[in-house]
Symmetry: C2
Subunit: 213 residues, 2 copies
DNA sequence: CTGTAAATAAGAAAATAATCCTATTTTTGT
DNA sequence: ACAAAAATAGGATTATTTTCTTATTTACAG
């Protein structure tokens, strides 16, 4: 769906984004500076005027913006949650009949759905990744695995987290308990002990969202 | 960036997607059925012809497609990898100075980058998810974890995979070896044995890409 | 505050997209 | 295999966008 209002707003926003007025953007794009005059967006007889796709092409070319950039200007949502819905079923159920075809593709009506990669809308810009470079955390994390971290998400009990201490350590653990005085974290490697760390030794704690396999 | 070729190809693809010819799509959209004739895309004098954004608006309206849908048709990649580049560093390095600020956000110039969620271009439409519903695979997978599966990716040695056997089992394992006669898979739970399965008992095998934490 | 440049309003002219039309080809249904 | 419908080619005409032009307003620099 594309409306007249959306296309002109996107043009205006693109201009602003690159430090131009609509007139300046037109000029920069090799169009007449009056091409994007607001007075020309509706005809004297009241009909809306629609720019050609060539004009759009030229303004993208002049600014270096992509169609993807332009799309985000067309749409009202400032920070679009770029998820995709994929089928989901319980692992224990998956062996039953009716979930997979012979090639291993989902089939049948019994699947739920999940958005992937679903992460908090509010920290979209803050994600980072850590790559595992040894086998100290096997079998959970192996060399080469990538952890996707959300520093802004508030971890809850049971979450796997990255903790930094005042001693400079950075650890991946499971959060077992937390209260005002300390946190209790469980090792992801059974060979290591669980730990209780006073809150004043915790510099920060960040939630692990996804792990590559 | 938007080229003449891209805009016309997107129109053609939109038509095909909704079961129309270009002529049928134009008609369905209230345009003249000859609007999208290939012979009209280049003028007799060799100049390219660019449809108006009103025409684009009308075909989206007629098909119910969004601008986002249209964008994915504009672009060359059949299944666009809707990735976002996020900072990446080795876990072992992350404790050193210069990687995090005091609130736990990446800082400094020493970070690499990774695309997330990176998955094979060729099976974008085929991903599905399995949700773990018990603790039989701890510590690797816990109840509530979600596995993102790519049925089309060819698993390699060392990958974690989902295997379905002719006996109807569906298992999550690590692929250790595979040859023409059998596969060898390692349990993700140390309490269970590794297995060798004849290839003729493997119905399908799919790669696990990501796990939620 | 003032002068200059940029931006915008808006009408007319030129260029271009869409429609109309005829003819031919291709596809579809029987 | 054949007839009918749909699709496409392509020229002519109409409608619409862009450019050209003049005038006014707004923004900016001194």
């Amino acid at each position: 769906m594309l409306t007249h209002e959306q296309i002109w707003r996107a043009i205006d926003r693109l201009a602003t984004l690159f430090g131009y007025s609509p007139s300046g953007l037109a000029k920069q794009s090799g169009l007449d500076p009056t091409s994007f005059n607001k007075s020309k967006r509706i005809s004297p007889d009241g009909k809306p005027r629609w720019p050609s796709t060539e004009s759009i092409s030229r303004i993208l070319n002049a600014t270096g913006a992509t169609m993807s950039d332009f799309l985000s200007l067309v749409e009202d949502v400032e920070a679009q949650t770029k998820n995709k819905s994929i089928p989901l079923v319980g692992f224990a159920q998956a062996g039953a009949k009716g979930f997979f075809d012979e090639q291993g593709y989902p089939e049948g009506d019994s699947w739920d759905e999940i958005n992937f990669p679903e992460y908090d809308k509010y920290n979209d810009d803050m994600l980072y990744a850590l790559e595992i470079s040894d086998d100290s955390m096997e079998p959970l994390y192996r060399e080469g695995d990538v952890l996707i971290i959300s520093p802004k998400s508030t971890p809850r009990i049971g979450d796997r987290v990255i903790v930094k201490t005042t001693g400079g350590e950075i650890m991946a653990k499971e959060l077992v308990k937390q209260n005002a005085s300390r946190i209790e974290i469980k090792s992801l490697n059974p060979e290591h002990d669980d730990r209780k760390i006073p809150q004043n030794e915790v510099v920060w704690i960040a939630r692990i969202l996804w792990v590559s396999q």
